[in-house]
């Protein structure tokens, strides 16, 4: 069943084409990676889905509903969670507080002026933290955590909205290699376990080929290839313009490491 359907998105900045008829679909429980060289239009495409950018033309349809050009907060309410390239958290709050805040927002209680925010949805927050393995750090200020742990908390924040779709912009950027694999595995498990679709961009080919169900290759705003990791790896054009031989080997290695 199609969860997200992106139809012929176009975006220009000045004279530069950042997205040209980008079209793809994503099923529930599926992990779809967008890859491509710098400036290929990954982030643009991503932000058009997440609501940070409005496409010039084209449609974004989430579970049958047109969400094109909606603001991020609206898109969030329709069941889209998101993480950022540089983790965005509420630095003045504790780890649990961050997740509780997301739960407060999800339950539409942000205008409540009576309840005690520190006690609200605490149990649910702890449960979400447990899913990402961070329940032990619940009461530490989030600023004290290692970056990899912050990323996990950010995942928990995104999950608080009970999303049908997760948007993850370079989820492993800035992390140590070991942390990367762990985070991607965690994401994949959650996605498959809960039937959440995941759309992510990634520079790290190991992560992409190890965990993506399908891969979309963007070059200069255009989709030049799409398919399973094997198909993409085998695509000669992808090899030529993007992966190169070394990338090809890395992709193989990653696949083996994940499944072997």
């Amino acid at each position: 069943m199609t969860l997200l359907s992106v139809e012929r998105l176009n975006k220009k900045f000045g004279g530069v084409v950042a997205a040209n008829d980008v079209t793809f679909a994503l099923a529930a429980g599926e992990m779809l990676a967008i890859i491509g060289p710098n400036g290929a239009g990954k982030s643009t495409t991503f932000n058009m889905v997440g609501g940070q950018l409005r496409p010039d033309t084209g449609r974004v349809v989430l579970a049958g509903q047109d969400i094109t050009g909606q603001p991020p907060r609206q898109i969030c309410r329709m069941g889209v969670g998101r993480t950022f390239q540089v983790a965005q958290t509420f630095l003045s709050m504790s780890v649990a507080g961050n997740v509780q805040m997301a739960l407060i927002a999800h339950h539409g209680r942000t205008r409540d002026v009576v309840a005690d925010a520190a006690a609200l949805y605490r149990a649910e927050a702890l449960a979400l933290l447990a899913r990402v393995g961070m329940d032990g750090e619940a009461d530490r200020p989030i600023g004290e955590l290692a970056y990899g742990d912050v990323k996990r908390v950010e995942l928990a924040i995104a999950l608080a909205a009970a999303p049908r779709l997760l948007l993850m912009d370079e989820p492993t950027a800035g992390m140590a290699p070991r942390e990367r694999a762990a985070l991607m595995k965690l994401t994949a498990d959650i996605a498959r376990g809960s039937g959440i679709g995941v759309l992510f961009t990634e520079h790290d080919m190991d992560a992409v080929f190890a965990h993506a169900d399908r891969i979309l290759v963007l070059v200069r705003g255009e989709v030049i290839a799409e398919g399973t990791p094997e198909q993409v790896r085998a695509n000669p054009e992808v090899q030529r313009v993007y992966l190169g031989t070394s990338g090809h080997k890395a992709a193989l290695r990653a696949r083996r490491a994940a499944h072997g």
Binding site: V114, A117, A118, P141, I157
Partner: protein, 617 residues
């Protein structure tokens, strides 16, 4: 209107614009590099004028030549530049690590000290400067006479602009200034000697202010009030132009000069508010000024300036709060009537300051115009009693409603901006409200205000009224504190910490900020209503910039990082003022010095110091 008049009037506008630009360019440079909103810039301008009226006549004694006149002007500018360096070395250098707002407060302390120092050194009488030799005469232009000196000023503005452009593009120092203006962290990363860069910038900025002041002496006499009269206008110019943009400042100065020259023909009474109207319009249309650029998002995550940890009261806090409330309630029993009066005012200011910190500390919404809502609340209450014939009780209900209503109206535009631009828009709205109260004489009584705003008979004794205030203020503070701890308060902190993240979890950031602005305006309005009845009168000083600055000083002294700091700050500030005012004519000097001392000793405010103490214990 004949063409000659239009040309000459336009030249008058250009001359004023030139003078304004020279001053504002210094302010915008200093802000661009150090991110300090330097209130003392107006003091540098004033010092430039005073030094010039001292040095220039002395030089002209030697020889009445134009050269010596301008040598004197340059000496004054350099002397002021050196004073700027002194301020950087002695004060600002110790403050780069503390939150930006504290730096602002410290420069405000400098303003107060310089005011009284000038009175002490040069005396209270205005000192007219000598006219520039060779430029005393008028020049005939299209049948109208125009002062030669102003023609010279018209030339010197663009000349300064040109020199600054060369400096910024052709020297290493200038290139560093531009780099720092665009991205402050990058300069630190490049291994540039940041201290030297800042000192140099302060020299340049202060010298430009001094030059502006010194160049004014043939036109206006040096007086001890010229600092505050210029500083708001200089801020307006820098904001309209875009903070940090020198060409923007030039454009804005020309715009303001022309508007003023022709505006007075159509609306002779618009002089009070014209520049603020322009600023409000520009900011609503262009949120970063004409030539400014959006603040680059911080590359790394930084702790926000404001309330950080929300902890429930522990035992010591409960005891302190209990004692404070008990003391406030006991004042009428043990204190004399004057003490009751002061305690009443402390309570009122505590509420106003708390409501401001609800915005600043909790929401990251820095308002420079919070007195507007305080004053509008006071006006609503006062006018209902005196003109509407209503008793005190409904008037006190109307005060917060009025405060909230105007906060909602102005806040609608304010929350669309951020940072310093947001602050300046709040200032502009406050000035507009001030001008309306000031000028709408038939209704508001103009600057005389309205008297006869006294409490109902049952509350007319100072003691009973103290209890009225105590109950209203304490309950309002408790209620607002509850909101801080409630999801709504947390949501505001979330939006302050990361707008992007807040948006992504489904929070409508603007709407929540707007509601917060409205709520804070309502609380300030209540405080204003209570104040009106305690004073018996209302007048425009209740909405004026100095009171807004006082409120800021209160929350900063108290510490914007703690929930209750604002209350302590209000009490401390009011007490300091009350001690110093009867002591000496130079109380502003002592007030300024204490503010600076407090900023240096408690860089996180009294609340921060207490929190540190608790943390250690």
């Amino acid at each position: 209107m004949d063409i000659g008049f239009i040309v000459v009037q336009s030249l008058s506008g250009l001359a004023s614009a030139s003078a304004l630009f020279i001053i504002a360019s210094g302010l915008t440079l200093v802000f661009g590099v150090t991110r300090i909103v330097n209130f003392a810039h107006g003091s540098f301008y004033m010092l430039g004028a005073y030094i010039a009226v001292t040095v220039v006549p002395w030089l002209l004694e030697i020889d009445r030549s134009p050269t010596l006149f301008f040598v004197g002007v340059l000496i004054s500018a350099i002397a002021v530049g050196v004073l700027g360096v002194l301020m950087e070395l002695l004060l600002l250098r110790r403050l780069y690590k503390v939150p930006e707002l504290f730096q602002l407060l410290a420069t405000f302390g400098v303003v107060l000290m310089v005011q009284d120092a000038v009175l002490k050194i040069w005396g209270p009488v205005d000192i007219p400067g000598p006219r520039a030799p060779g430029l005393r005469h008028g020049v005939e232009i299209l049948g109208q006479r125009f002062p030669a000196y102003e023609l010279f000023l018209i030339v010197i503005g663009p000349a300064v602009l040109g020199l600054l452009w060369l400096l910024m593009h052709r020297t290493r120092f200038g290139i560093l200034i531009r780099a720092a203006t665009r991205d402050r962290e990058m300069v630190g990363a490049l291994g540039v000697n940041q201290a030297m860069l800042f000192t140099g910038t302060l020299f340049l900025g202060a010298a430009l202010a001094g030059l502006g002041g010194a160049l004014q002496i043939p036109r206006v006499s040096a007086s001890s009030q010229m600092d505050l009269s210029i500083i708001t206008e200089a801020f307006v110019v820098t904001v309209i132009g875009g903070m940090g943009s020198v060409p923007g400042a030039f454009l804005a100065a020309v715009l303001i000069g022309q508007l003023q020259a022709f505006g007075v023909l159509v609306f002779p009474k618009i002089t009070l508010v014209l520049v603020f109207l322009l600023m409000a319009v520009v900011l609503v249309v262009k949120p970063w000024g004409l030539l400014g650029r959006p603040e680059a998002a911080a590359g790394r995550a930084a702790l926000p300036e404001g309330i950080l940890s929300i902890r429930a009261f522990g035992v010591p806090e409960r005891i302190i709060a209990g004692l404070a409330i008990a003391a406030m309630l006991a004042v009428p029993v043990f204190g004399d009537t004057y003490m009751v009066k002061v305690a009443t005012e402390v309570l009122i200011f505590a509420l106003a300051a708390f409501s401001l910190n609800f915005l600043v500390g909790n929401g990251g919404i820095v308002s420079f115009g919070h007195a507007a809502y305080f004053g509008l609340g006071a006006y609503a209450a006062g006018l209902l009693v005196t003109k509407g014939g209503l008793p005190m009780e409904p008037a006190l209900v109307a005060a917060p409603i009025a405060g909230a209503a105007f906060a909602a109206l102005f806040g609608f535009f304010v929350v669309r901006l951020s940072g310093i631009y947001l602050a300046m828009l709040t200032l502009a709205f406050a000035q507009i409200a001030y001008a309306v109260c000031f000028q709408w004489v038939e209704v508001t009584g103009g600057d005389n205000g309205v008297v006869g705003v006294w409490p109902s008979a049952w509350a007319s004794s100072r003691h009973v009224y103290h209890y009225v205030v105590a109950i209203c203020a304490i309950l309002a503070i408790i209620a607002l504190r509850r909101v801080v701890y409630a999801p709504f308060g947390a949501t505001l902190r979330a939006a302050r910490d990361s707008e992007q993240r807040a948006d992504a979890i489904g929070i409508d950031v603007r709407t929540h900020r707007w509601l917060a602005f409205t709520l804070a305006g309502g609380a300030a309005g209540l405080a204003g209503g209570l104040y009106a009845f305690s004073k018996g009168s209302i007048d425009p000083t209740l909405l004026a910039i100095p009171l807004s600055v006082d409120f800021l000083a209160m929350i900063l002294l108290g510490g914007i990082q703690t929930v209750m700091g604002a209350v302590a700050g209000a009490a401390a500030f009011h007490t300091i003022k009350d001690i110093f005012m009867p002591l000496t004519d130079f109380w502003r000097f002592l007030l300024g010095a204490s503010i600076i001392a407090l900023v240096l000793i408690f860089p996180r405010g009294l609340g921060g110091a207490f929190a540190a103490l608790r943390g250690r214990a």
